[in-house]
Every structure is written in C-alpha cells, then in structure tokens.
C-alpha cells in the first residue's frame, strides 16, 4: 500500500506541491493528470525516492521514506518500484533480453532463470521472437513495450509511468496503454500513470487531477 499525506515540496522558496495526500491499495492503477508545471513529475520523483519532500509523509508498504537514507531508497527502488519513461531509456548496447533482465541483474540475479523471466515478459508484450535483437531495430512503440517488460520483470510493488505515450503516435499509444494496464493488473502491483492526455488517463482504474491545491478525483 502507498500512503501519501500532506506532501509538500518547494523549489527556491516557491511552493510546487502545497499539500498532496493519496492512498493506493494493492492492485490499484491510478492516473494523475494536470497542467504543465503543476508538479506531476515532482510528485512522481518524490514517490520514486529520487527527491526529498519539504514536509508531509510518504510510505510504501509501511516503510516511511523519511526513515530511509539514500542507500535504502536506492534498494527500495531496486526491489519495489518499476519505471516506464516517456523517452524509453532502452540501453542501445544491450539486446532486448538484456535490457529487460537488467533490474534482475541489479538484484544480483543472473543466469538462465533470470533470462527465462525476461523472455516470459517479452512474450507478454509480444516481442518474444525479438529477444536477441538490438534496440536500433525497433520502432518507438516496440521500445516502449520493452520498457514495460523491464518495469515488470522483477515483480515490483509499484509501477510509475511518466508520460509513457508522449513519444508515440496515437495508434501505438493506445496499444501501449492497453498493454501497460493489462500487465499491471495481471501482476497485482499498484500503478501510477502521469499524463497530460485525458485519453491515456482513461486507461487507469481511476483518475486523479493535480492542481495547486492538491489531488482531487
């Protein structure tokens, strides 16, 4: 379970997040929308443990972020979080299988079993026959499918997707969103999708709107 209460963040004294609270139950997939500059990415960075709040509380499965040092936050990301980015961030010098298996490598798991996990996820995103291909051979939609497989391979508790369709055409975007929702639900993990797009937001179970005053349904 993800618990956020009265979260605040300021940059150079200027408040970006004034008071954000939300609660996410296991298996729940929410979309957060909002205008540019309202603090969507800031909120996502705080949930990812990549940034520290100026006030409020954040806890994942009972672990309070305020009690965790940088190394512990790194371990938390490694073990419990999965990421899907707008710019894919697929490493060009690794094959698709290697890209997908990367989170398992970071957890110290290497070998045939880890590769099988990666292949299973590649199969799930429809790229089973491309496991040994290089990223340069893929289209944008395919790259994002690889990123989804990579975000799920280590069975995270929470998946964070930041504008995952921002670089895709409408047809590919729709496919990726469907796939993302499907895989999150299938894995039983929690999911947060940050997007500008109302169409994208509709792929989630519920939609929250971020305003300067906070989150609202």
């Amino acid at each position: 379970m993800l618990e956020i209460s009265d979260l605040q963040r300021r940059f150079d004294g200027r408040p970006v997040l004034r008071s954000v609270s939300m609660r996410l139950e296991p298996g729940e997939y929410v979309a957060i929308t909002g205008e540019s500059g309202v603090g969507k990415s800031t909120l996502l960075n705080l949930i990812a443990g990549l940034d520290r709040p100026d006030g409020g509380r954040l806890a994942l499965d009972g672990a309070d972020y305020g009690d965790l040092d940088e190394d512990s936050l790194t371990r938390l990301r490694r073990d419990k979080l999965g990421f899907v980015f707008q710019a894919f961030h697929i490493l060009p010098h690794l094959t698709l299988r290697q890209n997908v298996v990367l989170p398992l490598w970071l957890k110290g798991r290497k070998g045939p079993q880890a590769d099988r996990e990666a292949d299973r996820l590649l199969d799930a995103v429809g790229l089973a026959d491309r496991a040994d291909s290089w990223p340069r051979e893929l289209s944008g939609g395919e790259m994002q499918r690889v990123a989804i497989a990579r975000a799920l391979v280590h069975a995270p508790r929470l998946i964070l997707a930041d504008e995952p369709t921002g670089n895709l055409d409408p047809s590919n975007a729709a496919k990726v969103l469907t796939l993302l929702a499907e895989r999150i639900r299938a894995s039983g993990a929690m999911g947060i999708l940050v997007t500008h797009s109302p169409e994208a937001a509709r792929s989630a179970d519920r939609v929250l709107h971020l305003t300067p005053e906070g989150l609202s349904a």
Partner: protein, 837 residues
C-alpha cells in the same frame, strides 16, 4: 560482474574513443617499459661482468687510476686475514687508428687462479713457424689474451698482431689465445702483469688487489683490520661496489627517462579522461535511468572507474608486450646505451621481469582509473530526476574548473622545489612538476572562459557561436585541450631545457678549449701519456707559440662513491679562464688551492674558502677550495689544480694532453703533422677545437634522441586527444547541429564553427601548455638537473621553434576538429557515429 555488459559493453559501443585511449596508454606503458627493460638489462649485464671479473674475491683494494706501490701487495698477502691476494694492473687503451677501446688487465697468473679464475688465459695452438712453447705463452711479454667478444669486435684471430697506444708510443701485441671464463666482454684483454708494467711504464705499480679472505673471516672485520695498512687514497671495497657506483651514477639519467615516459602515460590518462568525460555526458540520461531503477551511487562510480581500469589493463598488457619488443630492438641496435654512454660497449640480453612488467600494467590501470575518476565522480553526483527529465544526452555542464584548488596546486609547486634530493633523485622537482601540470589543467576552464569573453562577439555567425560556446561552457570544450596542454607543456619544457643546456655546453666548450690545437696520446687517459722529453720537444716545433699541458688522475675520496677526476693544468691564482660559477676565494700565497666542479660542491659539500684533504701520491694533502667551476663532462665530480702544484706534490711529470697555441701566421695542419711526427706513427692524435666541439655536440644530441622520441609520442597522443574529443563532442551535439541546420546554417558554416571551436580550445591548451612548460623548464633547469647531474646552465628560450610548434599544433587541432565534425555530420554516418561513440 553482473552489470559488466551494461558498462563494459559501452566501451565496445564507442570503439574509436576506446581505441584512442587504449593506444595512448599502450604507448605510454610501452615507452616506460622499454626504457626500464633496456636499463635493467644493461645494469644486470654490467653487474654480471663485474662479478665474473671479481671471481672469488671478497674484497678489493682500489685506488687512483695512476695506481699505487706494489709493496702493499706483499704486506696484504702476508696477513692472516687474507687467504689469497691477486695483484692487478689495469690499463685502458685503444687500438691504433680506431676508437676500439681495450681494457688490458695485467695479472699474476699464479696468484689469480684461486681468486679470479675467470681471468685465466687459454693459450691457443698457433702454427706460425715460431719455436714458442704454448705452455709458456701466457708469460710472454707480447702475449695478449682476448675474450671471444673482444676478438670478434677487433676481428682478430690467434697469431694476429694488433697495435695499441702505450704512453706516447705504439705497442705491438700478439693475440695468443682467449679467456674461456669471460667470453662476453667485448673490451676485455689479459696479459702477464710484469709485461703490462714494463710496456706502460708502470714498473712497481698496481691499480687493484683482489683479496680472498681466510676461512672464518668476515669482510667487515677483515676490512677494519686491513684498512689502517692502506696509504691515503686507497680503499677496500666489496666487488659489488662498482656495480652500485654505476647504478648510482646512471640512476638519475635512467629515472629522468622513465619520468619522460611517464608523462606520455599521463597524457594517455588525459585522453582517457577526455573520452570518459564525454562519454558520461552522452550517457547521462542512461546513467540517471540506472540510478533510478536502483543502481547505488557508489556502484555507478565504481563501474565507471572499471571502464577506465579495463582500458588501462588492456593498454598496460599490450604496452608491456610492445615495450619488451622495443627493448629487444634497442638492445640489438644500440646495446645497453640509450644515449648517455653509461653502458656503452655492453651487449646485454633482454630478460623478462615479472615484477617490473606487473608494475607497468598497474601503471596502465592507474592511468585508466585516474582518467576515469573525475567523470565518474561527476556522473555519480548527478541528480537522476533532473537528468531523466532533460532527456537531452548532449547537455553540457558549464564547468568552470576549480580555480582555488588549481591556484593552490600551482603555489604548492614552489615549496616542492626546495625539497633536497632523496637518494640522489630530484623527487621534490618531480612533485613540483606534477603540481604545476595538475594546477594548469585545473585552471584551464577558467582561463578558457576568461579568454573567450575577451573575444569580440561580432563577425560571422559560426565565429560568434564558437566563441559563445567556449565562454559559456568551457568545461566541455576544454576537455579536448587537456591532452594538448600536457603534451605542449612537456615539449616546451624539454625544448627550453635542452636548448639552454646545449647553448651552455657550447659556451662552456669555447671556454675550456681556448687553444688552436689539442694533442693527446690516445683517448684512454690511463695508458696514453706524454713524458717529459716529448713535452720538451713539442714546445720546440716550428709554429708553436705556447704549449699548456694537462695531467689527469682519478681520486677516491669516499668509500662507495665513484672516483673523482683530478685535472692538473696551469691555472692562474684567481681562476681566470675557468668557467667559474660564483665568486672565487683564492688561497693565501704559499697555500695549495683547488677549483672544484659543481658536482663536487653538491656531492661532497665543499665550499669556496674551505680547507679539505685530498689523497695525492699516497699522502693526505691539505688544500683550499678556491672556487667552483662548471663542468659538463664529469658527473661524478672533478677537481682542478695548478700543474706545478700537482707535480710538486706527486713528483709525477707525465701529462696526458697538450693544448697548443700557434704562432702568428702558422698553418695549423702543418703544425699538427709536425706534432704527430714527434712519436711513433699513429701514437699521437691531434684535434682542432672545432672538431672536438662538433664531436661533443653530436654526443650531446645523441643523449637526447630518446627524449625527442618520448616527446613526439606525447604530442601525437595529445593531438589524438583533440581528434577523439571533437569527434565525440560533435557526435554528442547532433541535436544542436540539427537545430542549427533547421535555422538555416549550412554544413560549411557548421564545419567552420567546429574548426574555430577546435582552434580556440587547442589555442587555449597551447597557451596554457607554453606557460606551464616555461615554468616546468625552470624546474628542470634549477631543480631536476642540478639535483640529478649537478649541472647549472643559463636560460635560453628557443622562441622561434616554440612559436612554430605552437602554431602548427593549433592548425592541426583545427583540422582534426573539422575532420571529426565532417565525419559526424555525414547524413549516412550520423546513426553509425551515434552508435559508435
């Protein structure tokens, strides 16, 4: 090693940059390894030769080159501490008409057997029709026994006759056999001691006594018991002492060469730095992503270091292999002499030293890790959220250097210059150079930014863009210039130092060669001498206005130190005509005074005005140091005294050379011929000062050939750095170029912008390099050279050569930037480049 494909795979992706870094480290390691391997081979060959010569001797009595009274032999042989004593008279001479040196050891065949069996000759069966008894051939007065290597070098066979210099005459000897125990020394010859004493007018003289101690005697106790029996100027040394002395004498030269090779390696480290820094910039979103998905900051740092270490390891391994190959080539071509003449005449064999090789591999890894350190630290410090958001893999940091730290480093170089030599090595000087170089590199971004801000922001758009970029983000552009700065600093420093040295040597030669002609009896000063009768005859040759004689002797002043050279020639009481350094303190009338070289002042701590004791003809003689003179010929130290004083104190009237002033209108060539005709044909050599000067400067230039090679390597590596850095930068800036093309800039304009950026960056590197090089040259001249070789010199700046070099380097850097940019902007090459770097 789980993440090895993620990081090390990145090296393979940017093959060109990796290859440049690899080659740079390879070259640096190879040059250092080659210098080390050649010197090590030469030293061990020298040591092996000395051990062969010493045989079973536990101690050796050594003294001046002129020798000592043989009565000491009987005294020592009778002592209970001594089991066996073997007298030796060593004469260094040359074959008439050639420069083939020969070291003739006169030995007592019956005494040498138990002490130095390797020196025992083996008479050859010679079918020459004579009725000589082969068994007694070793005792014959004209029998000469040569090592196999010497026979090959002189191209003679048993039964052949050769002529050598002996005093002011020629001596004909018959090759009577070889030395089976010492086949490898190309200059070694053995004769019966009585024959050597007779032929070289050394009746009753010895130069060495080899001692085998009685059972149960340790060298220390025996030494203490025997030393009081020795006249002044004689010493008891262990046989290894000569090896140590050679090692000590050549150490500074060897270490200086190694340091030059190290600078090539440091330049290689800069190339790794430049490649890694740009790679980190290009990968910053990739690295941020890895941090986001759970890679710890420290792990990221260590993996980025591992990338540098891997390049260093591969470069180190290949460098060690190449270094051994180069060393093998050098040993085959030049023997063990890398130019300074310390080990000339040896034929050393290359030996693989696992420890030295491992050390050089480690140095390669060190260069790789050092080069990767700062970029890795910077990458690990980046906030992943920000880097991920930017999504622009060509974002540039506006690094402005670390001016305070760089100023601190530059300042630290000053006190380092005052650190005294440690074991004869100028470690403080090296530290000062390292501080200066590091400080200059760190100051480079600040310097670049300041310079770029002074450039007028007008003119063509490419020029404005190039200047603006250098002013706004100097950190990135200047990465390309770090290698240039390091290599230019090295070249400028060496050029100024060598130029100053050469100029000073030239002036010095003019001072010490004031006469019109010089005459000597062979090059070797122990065998060739001019007796009183000949001296008198020389003065009477028509056309000779004045003759000045010089006697040479060697003195042993302290155990463990190499002998000091004594030059006795007419010297005016105030030292007029000597290349004096500092002011003179002439002795009071009636006192004997000497003039010491700078090496004597540094090694023995003698000062003008001080009274010291020197051993002459077996007695300690009190003399006053009247002044210090500059001497570039004798690194171990030299003393000059008036010839009349020398004769009065030693009773030795013979001299080795004569300086001759011609009468007005006399023809030098005719007078030279007349001088030579005063003795046997070929026994005397005459030279004009111009010839001696030319020969000396040729030897000087040869000494620095290896350093020129090392400098050239550093410059090539530096230029490779510019090319590699700009190729990487242009590849990383493809989005910027795309945007500029959309705005309407032509390819040619972008090419011009890159050329200007390259020229500006390299120009800043060259400027910084010249400034740093100038400062380093002062350290080389005032600290490193003085502490290593005890030579002072006058500063001489080769302005024209330096300006040419700087201009050429800037032009080449601009060209490298254009070529790199052209490659990166080729439409079809764009994707490939993106993947490559």
């Amino acid at each position: 090693m789980t993440l090895a494909p993620v990081f090390l795979g990145s090296l393979a992706r940017r093959r060109t940059a990796t290859l440049f870094s690899f080659v740079a480290i390879l070259l640096g390691v190879a040059l250092g390894m080659a210098v080390q391997a050649v010197n090590q081979a030469a030293l061990s060959e020298f040591g092996r030769g000395m051990r062969t010569m010493a045989g079973a001797a536990d101690l050796q009595v050594v003294g001046p080159r002129g020798g000592f009274d043989e009565g000491l032999y009987a005294t020592l042989a009778a002592r209970s501490e001594v089991a066996q004593a073997s007298p030796v008279l060593e004469m260094r001479t040359e074959r008439i008409g050639s420069a083939d040196g020969l070291r003739i050891l006169g030995i007592d065949l019956f005494a040498a057997g138990p002490v130095t069996p390797a020196l025992l000759p083996r008479p050859a069966e010679i079918q020459d029709g004579s009725d000589r008894d082969t068994r007694l051939a070793a005792l014959a007065e004209d029998s000469l026994f040569l090592s196999m290597a010497a026979r090959e070098a002189l191209q003679v066979d048993p039964g052949d006759r050769i002529q050598v210099h002996a005093e002011d005459r020629t001596l004909t000897l018959r090759v009577a056999g070889d030395l089976p125990g010492a086949p490898d020394d190309p200059r070694l010859a053995v004769m019966d001691i009585a024959a050597v004493q007779k032929h070289f007018s050394r009746i009753g003289r010895l130069t060495r006594i080899d001692l085998r101690l009685a059972g149960g005697q340790d060298a220390q106790t025996a030494r203490a018991a025997l030393e009081p029996l020795l006249p002044a100027g004689l010493m008891l040394e262990v046989p290894e002492a000569a090896v140590d002395q050679a090692a000590n004498l050549s150490r500074a030269y060897r270490v200086n060469l190694t340091m030059l090779a190290a600078i090539a390696l440091v330049t290689g480290g800069f190339l790794v730095f430049s490649a890694q820094a740009l790679s980190v910039v290009r990968r910053h979103t990739e690295l941020a992503f890895l941090r986001a998905i759970g890679l710890a900051r420290r792990q990221l740092f260590l993996w980025l270091l591992a990338e540098g270490a891997l390049v260093g390891l591969l470069g180190g391994l290949a460098g060690v292999a190449l270094g051994h190959g180069i060393a093998l080539g050098l040993l085959t071509l030049l023997g063990g002499d890398l130019g300074a003449g310390f080990f000339s005449g040896l034929s050393p064999t290359l030996r693989f030293s696992p420890w030295a090789s491992a050390a050089y591999v480690l140095l390669g890894i060190g260069a790789g890790v050092a080069g990767a350190w700062l970029p890795a630290r910077e990458a690990a410090a980046v906030a992943p959220a920000r880097a991920l958001k930017s999504g622009d893999d060509s974002a540039l940091s506006g690094g402005r250097g670390v001016p305070m730290l760089s100023l601190a480093m530059l300042t630290a170089s000053l006190p380092a210059c005052f650190i005294p030599p440690i074991q004869g090595l100028p470690l403080g000087g090296y530290l000062a150079i390292a501080c200066l170089l590091a400080g200059a590199v760190m100051l480079l971004p600040t310097l670049a930014s300041m310079l770029a801000r002074t450039l007028p922001l007008r003119g063509p758009v490419p020029a404005r863009l190039a200047a603006a970029r250098l002013a706004a983000a100097p950190g990135q552009s200047v990465i390309a210039a770090t290698g240039v700065l390091a290599s230019v600093a090295l070249v400028a420093a060496m050029a100024i130092m060598v130029g100053s040295f050469r100029d000073s040597v030239d002036v010095w030669l003019g001072q010490i060669l004031p006469a019109d002609l010089y005459l000597r009896a062979g090059r070797a000063q122990s065998a060739g001498s001019l007796d009183e009768a000949l001296q008198a005859r020389l003065g009477k040759i028509p056309g000779v206005a004045r003759v000045q004689f010089t006697a040479f002797e060697s003195l042993r002043l302290e155990p463990g130190r190499a002998p000091v050279e004594l030059l006795a020639r007419p010297v005016s009481p105030d030292g007029d005509g000597l290349p004096l350094v500092g002011s003179a303190r002439p002795a009071a009338k009636g006192e004997t005074q000497i003039w010491i070289s700078e090496a004597m002042r540094d090694l023995y701590g003698w000062r003008p005005g001080e009274r010291v004791l020197i051993p002459l003809a077996g007695d300690e003689v009190a003399v006053q140091v009247a002044g210090v003179w500059r001497d570039y010929a004798r690194q171990g130290g030299a003393i000059m005294m008036d010839l009349a004083d020398y004769r009065r104190l030693t009773g030795d009237a013979s001299v080795q050379t004569a300086a001759i002033w011609l009468a007005p209108g006399a023809d030098g060539i005719r007078v030279g011929e007349a001088l030579k005709s005063t003795s046997d044909s070929g026994a005397l050599e005459v030279a004009f000062p111009g010839e001696i000067r030319e020969r000396s400067l040729t030897i000087f230039d040869r000494t620095f050939v290896v350093t020129y090679v090392l400098e050239a390597a550093a410059v090539v590596i530096g230029l490779a750095g510019v090319a590699a850095s700009f190729a990487a930068l242009t590849a990383a800036r493809r989005r910027e170029f795309g945007m500029l093309r959309h705005l309407g800039l032509t390819r040619r304009q972008i090419g011009a912008m890159l050329a200007l950026e390259g020229t500006l960056a390299a120009g800043v590197g060259v400027l910084g390099g010249l400034a740093a090089g100038g400062a380093i040259s002062l350290i080389l001249i005032e600290v490193v050279n003085r502490q290593s070789f005890h030579w002072s010199m006058d500063l001489h700046l080769p302005w024209a050569s330096l300006l040419w070099f700087a201009g050429l380097l800037v032009a080449l850097a601009g060209l490298a930037a254009i070529l790199a940019g052209r490659q990166a902007m080729r439409e079809d090459a764009l994707l490939a480049v993106r993947e490559d770097w």
